[in-house]
Amino acid sequence: MAVEPPDQRRAFLKLMTAGLGALTAALAIIPGFGFLCGPLGRRTGRAGASPLRVAAERDIKPNRPLRVTAVGPHEDAWLRMEKVTLGSAWLVRTSEDGPIRAFSTVCPHLGCGVDFDESSGKFNCPCHTSAFDLDGRCLGGPSPRGLDELETHVEGRDVMVRYQRFRVGTSKREPIG
C-alpha cells in the first residue's frame, strides 16, 4: 500500500532533523576533538636546546657522584621562563682528572628521582628499588634500561650539561620535549 503523502513528508522531516542535529553536533565536536588532541602533535617545552653550566669541574671528586641541577630557559605552553630548574643530573668521574659523565636523575622505570647511596656506592631509586652502578648500568629492579646519560663537556673551569628528558618505561631511549 502506498504511503500517505503527509507521512512521507514527515519521514523526510525526521531524517532532516536528525541530519541537522548531527551537523550541529559536528560543528562543536570536530573542533573540540582537535582542541583536546592538539598537544599530541605539538612540541612543548624547548628545554635541552643548549648546554648549561651545572658545576665547577674541581668539585667533582672520583667516585663521589655530585647531584647538580640544570637551571635554564624553559617554555611551557604559554609560559616562557628564563631561569627554571629543568631537572637534576648526577655528575660522575671514576678517577682523578678522568672524564666526567652526567646521568639524568630521572629513573627510566617510572620517572622518580634516583638517589646515590654512599655506603653501597650505587644509585638507588626510592620508588621501586631499581639500582644502578656508577656507569649507569642497571643492576637490578624493574628499570627497563640503565640511567640516561646526558651530553656533557668541560668548558674552561665549568661542567656543562645539555639537559634532556627521555621517555620512561621503555627499553629504548627516546628523547622527549
Partner: protein, 574 residues
Amino acid sequence: MSADGAPTRAATKTGLRDWLADRIGLDELGNTIRAGQVPGGASLWHTLGSVAAGLFVLEAVTGVFLATTYTPSVTGAWASVAYIQDQLTFGWFVRGLHSFGSSALIVVAGLHLLQVLLFGAYRRPRELNWMVGLLLFGMVAVFALSGYLLPWDQKGYWAKLVEATIAGSAPVVGGSAQKFIQGGATFGSTTLTRAYALHAMALPALLTGLLVFHIYLFRRHGHTPKWSLSTEEAAARATPAWPDQTFRNAVVGLLVWGVVAVAVIARHGAPLESPADPTSSYLARPEWYALPLFQLRMFFEGPLEIVATMIIPAIVTALAFSLPFLDRGATNRPRDRRRVLTAAGLGLLALAVLGVTALAKDARNPVYAKARAEEKIRGETARRLALKGVPADGNVFRNDPAFHAREIWDERCAGCHNLAGAGGEKGPDLKAYNSRAWIRGFLTNPDGPLHMGPAKIDKGMRAVDGTPEEIDALVEFVYAETGAADADAARAGRGRDLLSPKDCDTCHDLDGEGENDGPNLKGRGTAKWVAAVIADAGHPLLFGDRNKMPKQRNKLTPDEIDEMTKFVLALKGK
C-alpha cells in the same frame, strides 16, 4: 493554605504554595516520591546508596567553594591551596571536608557495591543499573586521582607522574595516551589545566547525569529485598520509602558526615606538602585506595609490569561488568551464588592484603621514614614562607632569606670563593668557615688551597709553629673570638697567652682599635666582623692594603649585607 477557606475559592487555587504546586506539578511529584515502597521493609542495608549520593553533594558544594579561590596554574596552584589551608577563614575545614569526604565517598560507594553484590541486586532486571553503578564508581576514582594533582604539591605531582607514565606504558596507544593526559610531552601547565577541567567541569557534569540515570533506574526497579524473603513475604512487609527509609538514610548520612568532620578537625584539614619540585628524589606513593595496585605492581617486573597495571585490572573490570550475565544462581540466596560471592570475597581479601603489605613495608623502611621526615620539614617551611605572600613565579622559597643570599652568593661571591671544600678560585673556601677545623687548617697552613692560597697574598701570614697543645689553644682562642657558645674559655685563655710568645701580636692587635699589618682579632668571626668584611675587607682594622676582595658596600643594600652575614655564619655549622 489560603486563610480564606470560602468554598467559592476552592476551585481556583490560591496562595503561593498552591500557585507553585499548580505550575510545577508539585503534588504529582510528591505523590510519586511518597508512592515508593521498600519491599521487605526499610533497612540500614539500603541506606548506602543515598549516603554515597549525599557525599557527592558534599563534594560538589565544597568543590565550588574551593574553586572560588583555587588557581589552576603551575605558579598559582600550590600558593592558592596554601592560602586556603593556612589563611582563609574555615579554608582548612572546607578543604578538609572535600579531601576526607572523597575518601569517605570511595568507602561508602565501595560498601554500596558490596551490599548490591551480597543481595544479588545486580541481577535481572537490574543488570544495566549495576553497570551504571560500576561506571559511577570508576568516575569517583578518576575524580579522586585528578583531584590529588591539583594542589601541585610533591605527593600529588609525583603520584600523577607515575600514573601518567603507567598510562604511557600501554601497548600501541600508550605514548599518545600519556601525551593526552599530560597535555604534551612533559608535565607542565597543561597537565594541571587538563586535570582541573576534568575534575571541576567534565566529571561533575558526567557524574551528575549518570547519577540521575542511576537513581531513575533504581526507582524503576526498586529495592532488592533480603534473599531470605519470598516475593509475597517482601510485599507483605513492605514499608513506604518516605519517611521510613529516608529517615534511616538521614541518620546514617549524618553519621558519616560527622565522622568526616571529626577527622577533619582532628587532623586540622587535609595534608599539604611542599610545592612540586620536578628535580627532587621524591618517594612517590599513591593515595590509600590505590595502594593495592601499587603493591601488585611490585610482583611484576620489566615487560611483565602491564600484567599488574593493565591486564589484571582489565580482567577484573570485565568480570565485574559481565557479572549479571555470568551469575546463573537460581535465587538470590548466597548459597546459590557461592562462586560469585567467594570470588568477590577473595578479591576483597587480596586488595586488603596488598594494601596492608604496602603500608607495612613502608613502615619498616628507614629510607621511607627519612624521606617523610625531610618532606615534613620542607613542607612546613614552605607553608611558613607562604604566609609572607608567594612570589608571582610561584617559588615560595624566594621568601627565605637564605635563598636570596644564595642567589647573591652565586652572582657575587662564587667566582672567587667555594663552598664545596674543593678550594676557591681566588679566595678561601668557606666550607665550614670559622669552625675549629677551618681555623686549624688556616693557622697551620695559611696559604693552603682551602685558605688564602688561591688569593696569592703578597707577604701573607706565616704558618703557626707549635706543639699540638699550643695549636689547640690558639685554635680555641680564635674560635672563641667568633662568639661560639661552645668554646672552651680556659683553653682559649691559654691561646691568648700564646699570642705574644708566638709573635702573633707583631701583626695582629686584639683591642679592636689598632690598625696593624694583619686584621685586628677582637671579635673576629662575629656577625659584626663578617658584615664589616663583606662591606669592605680593605678597612685598616681588617685586611688593609693586603685585601683583594672587592668592596660590597655600594653593591649590596644594608639588608642584603645582613642576609649575607647570616649566610656566612651559617656555613660554620655545615
